[in-house]
């Protein structure tokens, strides 16, 4: 049995009372920055399609985002975001790629329901999924994340914020929001009033802090960035780990899912097959390159090129994915 199911209050560690961090010197501060984490915030979008919400299931609304990099024209709205309405309250997942994106989502929620927004999920550290959270601060929801999310945000959040502010402007970018409730290894449940969602804190896969959600009533899975559709996946955690977590997701038996990037809703089987094929190709090709003495830079240019025509933004991410894979797999 993969997941133990208990009520959220007993399973989410309350960390809102955590003491502040130690001070660092000005010199250290000026040097502070962190890995971009596979996110290029510098490229202009190719289109600015008007965003719309799709009702993908009863009380489940999703905005599918274009396959672009964060830019002023899309307000950082490049990931799928949305919300689930229960009898008593609303749960947001994810909240958006900027304060502006999050504010837009909040307005969309208020067009449809006056119920309180009690939970905002932050499915992982990447800015296109985490920076909308600030738009919900006034609702005083529980900000729910993986138990490793806080340290990931502490290591990178400030760097993301700075880069996002350069692209969108500081007011639009918003600020880093830390989880106030953490999902531990054995998972958690949230009851929205007659509607229960199950949360899973995954082992290192797409990142080291991936959270997925299953809506029990509809059987709809929210794998967030554990599932990329059409947009080339970005590897920022562990390649064998991601493939292993995909197996666990498949074992949940959901037939449809809301991917982190792609259409608002997809059939699980073909979408998972495509992602598994890309990651396996990346893994096999990188292992082969390592075994035959191909250098990391030559591997970066050659591995997984058979996947090139199958994914949007392939050239922007594949080389980096190979480097991530190579440095992980060369020690096997």
């Amino acid at each position: 049995m993969l997941y133990a199911h208990m009520h959220i209050s007993s399973f989410l560690k309350d960390v809102s009372g955590q003491p502040g961090i130690g001070a660092v010197s000005a010199l250290q501060m000026s040097r502070r920055a962190a890995l971009i984490g596979g996110f290029c915030l510098c490229c202009l979008p190719s289109s600015t399609a008007a965003a719309t919400m799709t009702e993908v299931g009863p009380g489940i609304f999703i905005r599918a985002a274009p396959h672009e990099e964060a830019a002023a024209a899309n307000h950082g709205g490049i990931a799928n975001i949305g919300f689930v309405v229960g009898r008593d309250s609303v749960l947001v997942t994810d909240s958006g790629g900027s304060l502006t994106d999050g504010e837009w989502l909040r307005a969309e929620i208020r067009k449809r329901t006056d119920k309180p927004i009690r939970h905002v999920l932050i499915t992982h550290v990447h800015p296109d999924h985490s920076f909308g959270a600030a738009a919900f601060a006034a609702d005083r929801p529980a900000f729910v994340g993986h138990h490793a999310l806080r340290s990931a945000l502490e290591a990178r959040g400030e760097f993301y914020q700075k880069r996002l502010a350069e692209v969108l402007g500081a007011e639009s970018a918003g600020s880093v929001v830390y989880p106030t409730q953490e999902v531990m290894k054995d998972g958690a449940e949230i009851d929205l009033g007659g509607r229960v969602v199950r949360l899973s804190a995954h082992a290192t896969a797409h990142t080291d802090c991936d959270l997925s959600m299953l809506d029990v009533e509809t059987g709809l899975l929210f794998p967030a960035d554990l599932l990329f559709v059409n947009r080339v996946p970005s590897l920022d955690g562990s390649l064998p780990g991601w493939l292993a977590e995909l197996d666990k997701l498949k074992a949940l038996g959901a037939s449809r899912a809301v991917p982190g990037h792609g259409p608002p809703i997809v059939d699980m089987a073909p979408a998972m097959a495509d992602l598994t094929r890309y990651l396996s190709t990346l893994s096999d090709g990188t292992r082969k390159a390592i075994a035959s003495g191909v250098s990391i830079e030559d591997a970066a240019r050659s591995v997984a090129q058979s996947e090139r025509d199958r994914w949007v933004l392939f050239d922007d991410y594949n080389e980096r994915n190979v480097i991530q894979a190579y440095k992980e797999l060369e020690w096997e």
């Binding site: 130690g22 250290q28 962190a34 080291d208 830079e297 030559d298 090129q305």
Partner: protein, 271 residues
């Protein structure tokens, strides 16, 4: 129309070493960048003349780093028998001097490869010192961001696991009497003082490999002096001339008195 880089794919399948057209971006000539290099050269070499070269040393670096914490660099020295040592300098890193290889009698000084952290858009310089004491430089411009402070692992403890473990890979297809290409891997977090511990939020104190020495029997292949810019888990590719059946010996040490030694038998097929 997307074109598959067929030559590269075939080379990978065949395991053939690639000869690359240099994809590096030319050195950036902005006055302040030139002034910075002049200062660094003065610091490293005093009043010795450092002449530009397009033949004695070549630098292959990506135009844009895909991962700023792991930027692969190849130095090629076509006139290898006349080369005494090579320097790698990353002008705008917090400590620009990155590495110096000093070649010994068992070296094949034709090329070395290493991986570095690059913090910002910068010129990268390679300098060759010839056996007759002259200095020659070449440079490339690399676009990178945040490489020096990129986190190493989820915790310092995790990053330190297995520290000092070494592996050596020998390229296949070497013939007796010919130089052998080898790749040395060492597990080491190479903390440079700019990584923040994700748990304590304090900066992890610097601890990085600053000396490495490789010998074939009693004959030196190279000595390496390094500073903060080598990537986590350093990987160095070099070539050496075999000295009978003597194993390849590696001695490495870091800035916190870490000391590791290991011998590697050369695969029998190569003897």
């Amino acid at each position: 129309m997307k074109i598959l880089p067929l030559a590269i794919c075939l080379a990978v399948l065949a395991g053939v070493p690639l000869t690359r057209a240099s994809a590096s971006e030319p050195v950036n000539m902005e006055p302040e960048r030139q002034e910075r290099w002049n200062q660094i050269a003065q610091y490293l070499f005093g009043d010795r003349k450092v002449e530009p070269t397009e033949t004695l040393i070549k630098l292959d670096a990506p135009k844009r780093a895909q991962d700023a914490a792991l930027v692969p660099i190849t130095l090629t020295m076509p006139e290898k028998n006349g080369i005494k040592s090579v320097y790698l300098v990353i002008d705008d890193n917090p400590a620009p001097f990155a590495a110096k290889f000093t070649f010994g009698p068992a070296a094949d000084a034709g090329s070395v490869q290493l991986r570095v952290r690059i913090d910002t858009y910068t010129n990268v310089h390679a300098v060759a010192e010839t056996k007759d004491g002259r200095l020659f430089e070449t440079a490339a411009f690399v676009k990178a961001s945040g490489g020096c402070s990129a986190p190493v692992a989820a915790s310092d403890e995790k990053a330190m696991a297995g520290m000092g473990e070494m592996r050596m890979k020998f390229a296949e297809g070497a013939a007796a009497g010919k130089p052998v290409e080898a790749t040395l891997m060492i597990r080491h977090p190479n903390f440079n003082g700019m990584q923040k511990n994700p748990i304590t939020q304090y900066f992890t104190p610097p601890r990085y490999i600053d000396k490495m020495s490789v010998s074939s029997g009693n004959a030196k292949v190279f000595d390496l002096e390094a500073d903060i810019s080598l990537s986590t888990n350093p990987v160095i590719t070099f070539s050496f001339v075999q000295n009978g059946r003597e194993p390849l010996k590696v001695v490495a040490s870091d800035t916190k008195d870490g000391h590791w030694e290991q011998g590697f038998d050369i695969p029998a097929a190569m003897n």
